[in-house]
């Protein structure tokens, strides 16, 4: 049985994504953790590309790896965070493990219910699927309200951050 090129790419990318995601939480150095997170986000962008969602893929790179992760690294370097000298206490680790397990099982339950066991591979996509036009049409017609609410939320967050930062300096 031969695999299509897309499937080979998928498994390689998925493996890298999982490994780097593990590195994010397991590596003792915060800078390396942030770099591993960047790698994970890039792999997710490639997965979007494999799903013909070019716009989402490049927005993912632009927003997450191009801006947010740069700020992460910026803060880590500004605070001069070093390698963790000793592991956190056992109670803390157990608590986090429980929380993480809960979240993982919730996500797993959700995905198992939502996604049919075998995805229909032969489903035909529209010619402009994933293109800017198609995305904009859905975003500004079907989801116009949630789009507006999200932008107001972001605006509130920005104003809140500025207010908090101002209070510190006075």
């Amino acid at each position: 049985m031969t695999m299509a090129l897309g499937e080979v790419i998928f498994f390689v990318v998925a493996a890298i994504a999982i490994l780097s995601a593990l590195a994010v939480i397991l590596h003792p150095h915060p800078v390396y953790s942030a770099l591993a997170l960047i790698v994970t986000l890039l792999q997710v962008a490639v997965l979007f590309l494999l799903l013909d969602a070019q716009m989402v893929a490049f927005l993912q790179i632009l927003v997450y790896t191009g801006a947010i992760m740069v700020l992460f690294l910026f803060v880590i370097m500004l605070l001069n965070l070093e390698r963790e000298q000793e592991p956190p206490p056992l109670s803390w680790r157990l608590g986090m493990l429980t929380l993480g397990g809960l979240l993982a099982s919730e996500l797993g339950w959700f995905f198992l219910r939502r996604i049919p066991p075998s995805l229909a591979r032969t489903a035909k996509l529209d010619a402009d699927y994933g293109s800017v036009t198609a995305l904009a049409r859905t975003l500004f017609t079907d989801h116009a309200l949630s789009f507006q609410i999200t932008s107001i939320l972001l605006l509130v967050a920005v104003v809140g951050a500025v207010v908090l930062a101002k209070r510190g300096t006075e």
Partner: protein, 374 residues
């Protein structure tokens, strides 16, 4: 299938080689150009064994300099993070070179029944791709600064990341107004849209203003200024070279680099100059378009026609594109050797309090005009 992959590979190779050549050529132009501006002679000790009949400064920069750089000792400071210190130069060069995949350097070449688009990758999100990949270049700067275990380098890296994020916003917003004007994110479609006369493009009818080509600069002059300024800031050169300002930070983020890796950082700066020029040319100066030159030949608005063979047109367009790109490279070098460096607070004020609001205002203005024109 095999032929298509082969053609794509050849196109990619050609684009990378052109970029490399332009970049090294710019190094020479920078030396001779700065000498011209400062009333010096410039690189002139380049006669091989004294037997050449003329000054071979160009050859010196193109061959001897890279050879010297790559045979120098590759120094890694004590206490540096060896892996990231090694990776940083590559992370700085690679994204810039990859962005050229979306820049169209000509229209279509028709050879023996085949149509070859003179653009490596035809993405419908071209501009987004370029912004996304170019934004990855900041990691080279940040990691170089951090991995060097040097305070000046760290300061340079932190300055670099703050500066590049700040100016990316203004750059992106300037592009948004261009995207709204052309109604596409694809650079090739943008370049094609600039082929008509200005009057026809704006809908005034044929006779009015058709003496001017429909280049982006004529209807988005503010976007051009904003994009060009932000672009120069992104390439981290004077007046925006705070990340490497040698009078405060030795060499900033690449203080602890030597030999080939230091050359890689210099190279990525020059490649960014070429990239900014290519984008400016494609969006604001018609890309590969030559005014009045259509697919059959020249068709002048005052009625003359001059048919030309297909191959001449294609070659002419590619040459026109390269000439325009070179002009803007030269303009950036001229700016670099003319202006003094900004202070850091001035840099941040320019980015956040001037360029960003102006770019936003330009977006609003553009959308109002587009709405009224409908």
């Amino acid at each position: 299938m095999g032929l298509e992959v082969g053609i794509a590979a050849v196109k990619a190779l050609v684009v990378v080689l052109i970029t490399l050549q332009l970049t090294v050529l710019l190094l020479w132009v920078e030396r001779k150009g700065s000498a011209l501006i400062q009333n010096r002679i410039g690189a002139n000790r380049a006669n091989i064994f004294g037997v050449m009949p003329f000054n071979t400064g160009l050859v010196n920069t193109l061959m001897a300099d890279p050879l010297k750089m790559f045979t120098k000792e590759d120094f890694v400071p004590e206490g540096a993070d060896r892996l990231l210190h090694f990776l940083a130069p590559f992370l700085s060069v690679f994204p810039i070179l990859v962005t050229f995949a979306c820049v169209p350097f000509g229209d279509e070449l028709r050879v023996g029944g085949m149509t070859i688009s003179l653009q490596v990758a035809d993405l419908n999100v071209g501009i987004l791709y370029i912004l996304a990949v170019a934004s990855m270049a900041v990691y080279g700067v940040v990691l170089a600064g951090w991995a060097s275990n040097n305070r000046w380098a760290l300061l340079g890296g932190i300055r670099g990341s703050a500066q590049m994020i700040s100016y990316e916003l203004a750059m992106g917003l300037a592009l948004v107004s261009m995207v709204m004007t052309f109604g596409t994110l694809d650079l090739q479609t943008m370049a094609r849209a600039q082929g008509s006369g200005l009057g026809s493009f704006l809908g005034f009818g044929k006779p009015v203003l058709d003496w001017l080509p429909a280049w982006g600069i004529f209807y988005q002059p503010f976007a051009f200024l904003l994009f060009f300024t932000a672009g120069i800031a992104e390439s981290k050169r004077i007046p925006f070279d705070l990340p490497e300002s040698e009078s405060e930070l030795i060499s900033g983020y690449y203080t602890e680099y030597s030999g080939g890796k230091q050359a890689a950082f210099m190279f990525s700066d020059f490649a960014e100059i070429v990239l900014v020029s290519a984008l400016v040319v494609t969006m604001f100066f018609g890309g590969w378009q030559i005014p009045f030159l259509g697919r059959e030949g020249f068709a002048f608005p005052w009625g003359g026609r001059l048919p030309l063979p297909h191959l001449v047109i294609v070659v002419g367009q590619v040459v026109a594109f390269l000439a325009k790109v070179f002009f803007f490279c030269w303009l950036q070098i001229l700016i670099r050797w003319t202006l003094p460096r900004f202070r850091y607070d001035q840099l941040m004020r320019l980015g956040w309090k001037m360029l960003l609001p102006l770019a936003l205002a330009n977006v609003v203005l553009t959308s109002v005009v587009i709405l009224l024109a409908q």
